[in-house]
Subunit: 217 residues, 4 copies
């Protein structure tokens, strides 16, 4: 597929280019400059930051490109803009494009009612260059719980991303933990989302929904 | 309720007497001696070892007592004997009477199909006096998986019971962990099972089924 | 030995009485009342809270009793008062009377210089009734590091006390973890401190120093 | 520096070339073929397997090259051969070229006497293509303990390398954990060892000794 990449020079941009090696990069958008080979991308992938969002959405509208968006820290207006775009092209959005975290989210959504009398807290650890806290993934996981959980954010070294959802009562501790071995896992999730978005009907999809579709086949 | 206790002098026996403090201990069975106050127990609780099993089953038959059995390391003949007893009295059996482990078992039974392409292994850590390995709980958790997982048993200090079910693929690690803060948790689970068994119809029940019934109310 | 106990009805008070079972409790001091059998304690043990401190110190002065103090959240004035008392009787003070945490503290004091270029943070988890945060133990461990570390406090269920000191750089993560299996461990440490204090010269000692003395024999 | 690389096509070979990007690769040795630009390497780096060892040692003798060797699973004869080579050229050997594991080894060597009454076991987790078990690093860490510890090896997914040395007694659990975020950390350690070996006197050195020298400056 022909794809466009917003934030091609950053860490995630580098990983995405490796994961998409069998596909054709036809557009890059970075703070410093935009490049295009003149063709229209079938899918635009954006894992940069909120400040790029409006420009990314405009490019999708102009080119009729589907969008795979992994940017974290979005607000209500951003989500409205993405849902609006979803009326025209397929949009796949998630704060975490790994299969494991999305399975964890499904599990918490199904089972946290059984654990609603237990105390629950979330600990997430990321590399020291990650600016937002708590992580988008921690927010995703918290949304799946019955009640808000205190979230603790550690920023250390080069850690790609650890999340731990902990439940405890007087006699027991249950914890659900996820570790991204490297950022590559998110890039491969983005590839899956792009392959889905390329042929999907217009709509606003979460990566969890893309995975559910895949699992039914 | 009037209850009987097999293995009253061991660690679990002590914890069970504390948890059942509001009830009347009317029979104890230990390697060295058996004691009874002459009345029939409504429920007999046995968390001892396989060597007591036949005697325990006979006592239930003689006294018309329900049975709560937490003994680990049972074999096929033992299960047949317990199912046979279940035709006459309620029998609640589990290798782990904590709510958390049973919830974990339900989760693994529901979700391990999604993780069947991942590698999976189980690590359990117990106190250095525990003779059986792998633990009954590890076997319970492995039974919930799609395919057998290698099990690692650590025997150290006074650890009541830690279990970790780990899944990994090329890019991620997911782990589901349970810790018993103290043995008391199993004694309180036994109490719940006894309260269920006391009024249930004859049958062979797992503690998981007892919990499912409770959760529906 | 004859010993006095401040906070005899609380969780730690109960554990201390179990650990000191071979000794004679001759005085108890609780919010509601004080009791004495008329004899002078050789050692007073206080694991209650700051509000008892002045009274405890006075009792030591009046009775010539040594003091083992595990109360957390002390301030500079409290430490001055304890050092002053140490001129007359032996005083053993620590925020953590377990051997493992004190060994961890020694290790961090010796080796954190080698890790000073790494990021470091501390996570501690305690039961949901613990009022102070961060824990006294986390503060003890942080003091052993080269530079202040961010401390994260989780309050959940019945967890006796977990501490994790984590270091990370671009390529690696090192973590030093301690778990108290139950509060009993602190009571046994208090017993060791009391046996030391009973025959020591007046002075202000930390439990770490008591352990170092013991290890040299 | 001009360097030679044994096992240039494998995972570690790839990481080493990235880490040594500022240096000149003048020789590669792989199962299929050997290549040289005709010059003599100042240092040869070998992270392949035992079967290459004799050939690597011969190349060092012929070229007067120092050797940095990270191959695991060496036996007594291999060590004799390396010490013999060390009479002529500098040889730096380790089963683990990360700073963190070597610091952990130093800590265990210094402090395990204080923990000799505790139970101890080691758990290591590596990717599913790693053939040897237990890992060389687990063996390194076990050597630093007072008495042999049971070692548990998990082989799962793409995990670069996790090691956990656990101590427990009746009341507490202490664990010392190391995680390699990626294999790159070993390649950077190999670079440090090569920079040392390039100018060192002939001798057989461990990477721990190289680090100790560096830390004294």
């Amino acid at each position: 597929m022909r794809y466009g990449l917003v934030g091609s020079t950053g860490r995630m941009g580098q990983e995405i280019q490796k994961a998409f090696a069998d596909h054709t990069l036809c557009m890059t958008v970075d703070a410093e400059k935009t490049w295009s080979d003149g063709t229209q991308p079938e899918v635009i992938v954006d894992f940069s930051n909120r400040s790029s969002l409006t420009n990314t959405v405009n490019l999708c509208v102009e080119n009729g490109s589907a969008l795979v968006i992994g940017t974290t820290g979005l607000n209500e207006d951003d989500f409205s803009m993405l849902r609006e775009l979803g009326k025209d092209v397929p949009v796949v959005q998630s704060y975490n494009f790994s299969v494991g975290v999305n399975i964890l989210k499904m599990i918490l959504a199904s089972y946290s009612k059984l654990l609603e009398d237990w105390d629950s807290e979330i600990v997430e650890i990321h590399h020291n260059k990650k600016k937002d806290a708590p992580s988008g993934t921690a927010i995703m996981l918290q949304d799946a719980l019955q009640k808000p959980a205190v979230m603790h954010s550690l920023r250390m070294g080069g850690i790609p991303g650890d999340h731990s959802v902990i439940f405890a009562n007087e006699g027991e501790v249950l914890s659900f933990n996820h570790r991204a071995i490297s950022r590559a896992v998110f890039a491969y999730g983005a590839l899956e989302a792009a392959e889905f978005a390329r042929t999907a009907n217009p709509g606003f999809y979460t990566f969890e929904e893309v995975l559910r579709c895949k699992l039914k086949k």
